[in-house]
């Protein structure tokens, strides 16, 4: 799964947690989950849990801390997918 494919899946994961649907459509690697998508910071935990199910990976505490923008999320997900593959 390349970065573009991960991004497409990530949009589905993020959708229930943002009300900025237009912003979500146009996300790029620089999009900040809290500042741009106005996601409740407490819901980042739910996003991580949903991402684990979506990509069939496990995300640990240190990796989770890095996931504040779309690019970081893709970094972590790509890294974990490669480890399980």
């Amino acid at each position: 799964m390349d970065r573009k494919e991960i991004l497409i899946e990530l949009k589905k994961v993020l959708a229930p947690y943002t009300e900025s649907k237009e912003m979500l459509e146009g996300i790029n690697e620089q999009t900040d989950l809290i500042k741009d998508l106005k996601i409740n910071s407490a819901n980042l935990v739910d996003i991580i849990i949903d991402a684990e199910a979506q990509y069939n990976i496990e995300i640990d505490f240190d990796a989770a801390e890095k996931m504040y923008n779309v690019g970081n999320c893709i970094d972590v997900i790509a890294d974990k997918i490669n480890k399980t593959a």
Binding site: A42, L44, V45, D46, I49, F61
Partner: protein, 159 residues
């Protein structure tokens, strides 16, 4: 089991836990009896005291989320990587509650909470409240975090 109550940061008029009757890593049960002279009855409503929904919600949160959360933090779930200190306090991050019955002054309510997950410092639970007759009073999904929890040093090899 009431030992855990000493960790609760609430005082007097905003402490809504009397007893913890069961507590483990998966859930908690406890009770609280509404005092007839509680500050909110005089105005909610004059001559017609009814426990406000926000107070019902707070009772459910204190027993169902905060007591269980503190238990999980202090009972050595160390893989979470965070611990509490004097500057830490609990914050509710979401609730979604349905209310089925009124609670009147002097009534005892029993709260039961089942953990859905505790990860990255966030606890999410299904919480139910019953009255002394075993009737469902309220039910909902609660989530919260501990603010200013301290990141624990997971390794001492760095020094």
């Amino acid at each position: 089991m009431n030992d855990i109550l000493k960790y609760l940061p609430y005082k007097s008029s905003f402490l809504f836990v009397d007893n913890i009757t069961s507590l483990n890593d998966e859930g908690v049960s406890g009770d609280f009896t509404l005092k007839g002279d509680a500050f909110f009855y005089e105005d909610h409503f004059p001559g017609n005291p009814v426990t406000p929904g926000v107070i019902i919600t707070e009772i459910m949160a204190q027993i169902g989320l905060v007591v269980l959360g503190i238990h999980l933090m202090i009972s050595g779930t160390r893989q979470e990587g965070v611990v509490m200190d004097e500057g830490s306090f609990p914050l509710l991050t979401s609730t979604n509650v349905e209310f089925f019955k009124m609670v009147l002054p002097g009534e005892k309510v029993i709260v039961t909470s089942k953990k859905q997950y505790f990860r990255f410092g966030k606890l999410k639970c299904l919480v139910e409240m019953q009255n002394a007759d075993g009737e469902l009073v309220a039910k909902g999904i609660f989530s919260g975090i501990i603010k200013n929890a301290v990141k624990q040093m997971l390794s001492i090899n760095n020094g």
